[in-house]
Each structure stands twice: as structure tokens, then as C-alpha cells.
């Protein structure tokens, strides 16, 4: 197989070619600033407002509840710091989980230094929080619950509707980082009682550098980027018109094709998981078996290290990622894999394969065959495997 097999769609996705066509006119033909008064600017403004409406419709939100941002990290920062700032007279307590993305975790750690108290909920072996522990953690001072919709590494989907119900019952705001979930699985902010939601364009075949936040009407968070009066004076900065238009077009395409894509990706994912678990010894699947993103498969191969695995996959044209320390630039493996209770040496041997609707069964077959060879070879070089074989012979 000579072509590249891209299995790192949780890192970023390819811009859809049709989406690119929709974006193109807003670079040169109509480059105008939507905040200007002349006629062509009205076209940009209409395009931005049309994009807002499309995204609102997908989420079951109102148009004026969608705010465009620079991406998922900005949305997460805004939701959490904005709530802390606006509701500090009500309380100083925030509840989140141990397997959030760093955009949430590091923001919470920053707020702890500012005097806020943060509860980091444990997760079970599949990566799910406990609803009982969540409810027990709520105090009169609690102002925010921030729990991710689906995890970026192991794909586990949280019981969002139940979390929303608990938050509503106790009068606490609920933010969810839906960067991996939006446009991949159905989300309804009304039904799920979500007060704030973060999303990012490049995770669903849209452009990079653009995201949005849904903020329920009545949530009083203020401006995070100060300046002009864009986004109802809540998020300053000239609109990224091609980005906004592209993100909305990509969201629309994904939403229209969602049922079909979910079916297709789940089939491929389960085929890949089944083959790897049955054909390669000493391997485990990380994350929940069924409550997981349709495109996510995450494994730990015992006795081998993730970076070596990635390099050998790359040499065979396969792009993937790992939670190994060597790929993170630190000595510790992924906090997500440690949070689900994996020992360090097992976390080091992790491999994340995230599919797209463009992948095929033939590609999965090729990946499994290559993996069998690579895992075998790395184990033949591994002193850990040597010790294991000697101990059991």
C-alpha cells in the first residue's frame, strides 16, 4: 500500500474539499470586514450570521447563543475563567475530572492559584466519572461543573444528560468540552441541560484556528478578549469570515451525514478492535467498549514503548499517536491513561488510532498486518518481554 493511511483524526482532520470551495470567495473576492457599512460587507455579515444559525440548529440552540472563538482551547479558557470571574461572589468552587484536556485542566490549575477550589473527580477503569461522586462533590460554593463530552485519547463518552440534570437540580452551571464530540455524535443542549459548550472547527473537517462556544441565554459570563463590539460585545476581534463559513459548512456536512458516518465508523472501529484484540497477544483496549466515539480505538501493547511503535508505523505509511512519555516531551505518560489506572509501563505502550469516514476495511487490514509485525519485532528486542517469557517458560 503506497498511499498514506491517516489514523490521527483526533489530532486534526483534513479540510473537506467542498468546504474549501465554500471558503474560497471570502479570501479574495469578498474579503470585507463584516462590521463595515458598505454593501459587500453586508454579504460577509450575512455569511457569518448564516453560519451562526447553522451551528445553532445542529445543537438545538438559539442563534444568539453561539459565539465564534479562535478554537477549542480559547472556548474552554473563556468558559471556565469567565464563570470564575462572573460568579465569584456566589462561590469559588469548580468541579471537573481527572481526564479533561489540558485546556481545561491547566485553566483550573491556574484558577487554583487565584484562590479557587477545584475538585478533580476520579474516573473508573473505562474513563467514566461517577454521578454519585459528582453530586456528592457539589457544595453551596460550587459555581461550575466542567466535564468533557468525550475524551480525546480513549474516546469514552460521559453521561452528559445525567450530568446536566444534576447540575440543573443544584443550580450549578454546566460546561462541556465537546471538541471531540461535536459533529461526530448527536448533541442537544436543551435535552442535555448544557449551559456552555466548546467546539473546534478542525476536528470535523473544517478549518483550523476557528471554534465556537455555545453560551445559554442568561449565563452571565463576560468578555474574555476585550476590544471591539463583535459577538454581542462578548468576544472582540475581526471576524475570521472564511473560517466561520468553513466551520459551519463542515458542521452542516457532518450533521447531515452523521447517522451514516456513525454506522460506518463504528463498523470499521469494531472490526479493527476485534482483529487486534484477537490476533495480537498481551494487548488491552483502553476506554469504554461501547460508550465511545465512533472513530476512536486506543490500545496498550504490553512490553513495548509507544514512540518506537509510531516511528515504525510511520515508516509503513500509517499516521497514529501515543500516550507514551516520549511523545509528550515529559517523563510521564498521558494523564488520561494514568487516570484510568494503567501502570506507567502499560501507559507507555499505548497507541491511539482515530478513523474518519474516508478510511476503508482494506486499510484496517493493512494496519493490523503491519501492527502484528511491528509489535512482534519490538517485543523481540524488549528486555521486559524476555523476562516475561523466561518467567513463564
Amino acid at each position: 500500500m503506497n498511499k498514506l493511511i491517516y489514523l490521527d483524526n483526533a489530532a486534526t482532520t483534513k479540510l473537506d474539499a467542498d468546504v474549501f470551495e465554500v471558503m474560497k470567495p471570502y479570501f479574495i473576492e469578498n474579503f470585507s470586514n463584516p462590521s463595515s457599512v458598505y454593501d459587500i460587507a453586508q454579504h460577509s455579515k450575512a455569511a457569518v450570521e448564516d453560519a451562526r444559525e447553522q451551528i445553532a440548529n445542529i445543537l438545538g440552540a438559539r442563534t444568539n447563543e453561539i459565539y465564534f472563538t479562535g478554537g477549542g482551547s480559547e472556548s474552554d479558557n473563556w468558559a471556565i475563567k469567565g464563570t470564575a470571574e462572573a460568579y465569584k461572589t456566589k462561590g469559588n468552587h469548580i468541579i471537573t475530572s481527572k481526564l479533561e484536556h489540558h485546556a481545561v485542566l491547566h485553566t483550573c490549575q491556574y484558577l487554583e492559584k487565584q484562590g479557587f477550589e477545584v475538585t478533580y473527580l476520579d474516573v473508573d477503569a473505562d474513563g467514566k466519572i461517577s454521578l454519585e461522586e459528582l453530586e456528592a462533590a457539589i457544595k453551596p460554593e460550587t459555581i461550575l461543573i466542567s466535564i468533557m463530552f468525550a475524551n480525546n485519547e480513549i474516546g469514552t463518552i460521559q453521561p452528559i444528560k445525567e450530568i446536566g440534570a444534576i447540575a440543573k437540580k443544584h443550580g450549578v452551571l454546566f460546561h462541556t468540552d465537546a471538541v471531540q464530540a461535536f459533529a461526530h455524535v448527536p448533541i442537544d443542549v436543551q435535552e442535555m441541560n448544557i449551559d456552555m459548550l466548546s467546539a473546534s472547527g478542525h476536528k470535523f473537517n473544517g478549518p483550523k484556528g476557528i471554534g465556537f462556544m455555545y453560551i445559554r441565554k442568561g449565563v452571565k459570563i463576560g468578555s474574555f478578549i476585550h476590544g471591539g463590539a463583535q459577538e454581542r460585545s462578548r468576544r472582540a476581534g475581526t471576524h475570521n469570515v472564511p473560517g466561520i463559513v468553513g466551520m459551519a459548512a463542515a458542521a452542516r456536512l457532518a450533521a447531515d451525514a452523521m447517522d451514516e458516518r456513525i454506522k460506518q465508523e463504528c463498523e470499521l472501529r469494531d472490526y479493527l478492535i476485534d482483529r487486534i484484540l484477537t490476533e495480537i497477544p498481551y494487548v488491552r483496549l483502553n476506554g469504554h467498549r461501547t460508550d465511545r466515539l465512533p472513530n476512536n480505538a486506543n490500545f496498550s501493547f504490553q512490553f513495548i514503548e509507544g514512540e518506537s511503535l509510531l516511528i515504525m508505523l510511520d515508516q509503513r505509511g500509517i499516521c497514529a499517536s501515543s500516550g507514551s512519555a516520549c511523545t509528550s516531551g515529559s517523563l510521564d505518560p498521558s494523564h488520561v491513561l494514568l487516570a484510568i489506572g494503567l501502570p506507567h509501563e502499560i501507559a507507555h505502550g499505548s497507541l491511539r488510532l482515530t478513523l474518519s469516514h474516508e478510511n476503508t476495511k482494506e486499510e484496517m487490514d493493512y494496519v493490523v498486518e503491519q501492527l502484528k509485525f511491528i509489535v512482534d519485532r519490538l517485543r523481540s528486542m524488549s528486555p521486559l518481554y524476555e523476562d516475561f517469557v523466561k518467567k513463564n517458560s
Binding site: 509501563e345 502499560i346 507507555h348 524476555e386
Partner: protein, 148 residues
């Protein structure tokens, strides 16, 4: 990210394997940090020349490449000459390593030293300039791997 030499030694590692009844074996690093290296030495009793050297490594691309290069550098040398093979020599021979991977070359140097120490202990000799390796895996070893 890696030099061509590192990629070559990772892709086609030299001297991978075990030596039965080796003169000296050294294992350094720990699984917690993600790197373990084991070096086997076959040493001529008379001449003290390293006749054969093999390695096994659990770790990243740089860990494999530094182990491979270290075995090449000590092969055919006397045990005293082998002591002179520093992490710097291993790095230079590989045309450099990214800064975050320098510890891999230190580990390779320590693995050689650990194997020489094992040889010296087994034979009741003292090798000048060689001290007990501090990074030996058997000290403060982590609990056994969990099985599943």
C-alpha cells in the same frame, strides 16, 4: 526529529539479542520512565577483549539507536577501553540527538558500565574508574507487571 544515523540504527539495530552464559549483563533504566536497556558482554578471559556484545531495549527510537551504537562502539575493545565509551561518544557517533533524548545516551553508557560491573563482580576483579552503577534496574525495582 532524528538524524539519518539514528533512524538507521533504530530501523536496523546492530547486535540485538541475548548471549547465553554471558561474562557480564547489565540492565538499567526503569519501565516507569519508559526506558530499559540490557547489555550482554562476552569477554575473553586472557586478553579482556569484548568478543561479543548484544542488547535488548524497551524504549523510544533514541533508546534503541543509542543501545545499538553503544554495542558497536565497545565491540572488539578491551574492558578498560570500553570504559572510555561515554554518552558523548555515542551521541557524536549518531550525529547528535534531540535535547530531550540526551538521557538515552546516558542510559546506554550506564548499561555498558553495569555489564562491566557485573563481570568484575563475578570474577572478583576491580576495574579502575568503574563504580557501582546507580541506575541498576534491580535496585528499588517496581512491582511486577500486571497481567491481563
Amino acid at each position: 526529529m532524528y538524524s539519518e544515523k539514528v533512524m538507521d540504527h533504530f530501523t536496523n539495530p546492530r547486535n540485538v539479542g541475548e548471549i547465553e552464559n554471558a561474562s557480564g549483563v547489565g540492565t538499567v533504566g526503569n519501565a516507569k520512565c519508559g526506558d530499559i536497556m540490557r547489555i550482554y558482554l562476552d569477554i575473553d578471559e586472557e586478553t579482556k577483549v569484548i568478543k561479543d556484545c548484544k542488547f535488548k531495549t524497551f524504549g523510544c527510537g533514541a533508546a534503541v539507536a543509542t543501545s545499538s551504537m553503544a554495542t558497536e562502539l565497545v565491540m572488539g575493545k578491551t574492558i578498560y577501553e570500553a570504559l572510555e565509551v561515554t554518552n558523548k561518544a555515542v551521541m557524536e557517533a549518531l550525529d547528535g540527538l534531540p535535547p530531550v533524548k540526551i538521557h538515552c545516551s546516558l542510559l546506554a553508557e550506564e548499561a555498558i558500565h553495569a555489564a562491566l560491573w557485573d563481570y568484575a563482580e563475578k570474577n572478583g576483579i576491580v576495574i579502575d574508574g568503574l563504580s557501582k552503577p546507580k541506575n541498576d534496574i534491580h535496585e528499588g525495582e517496581e512491582e511486577e507487571d500486571e497481567e491481563y
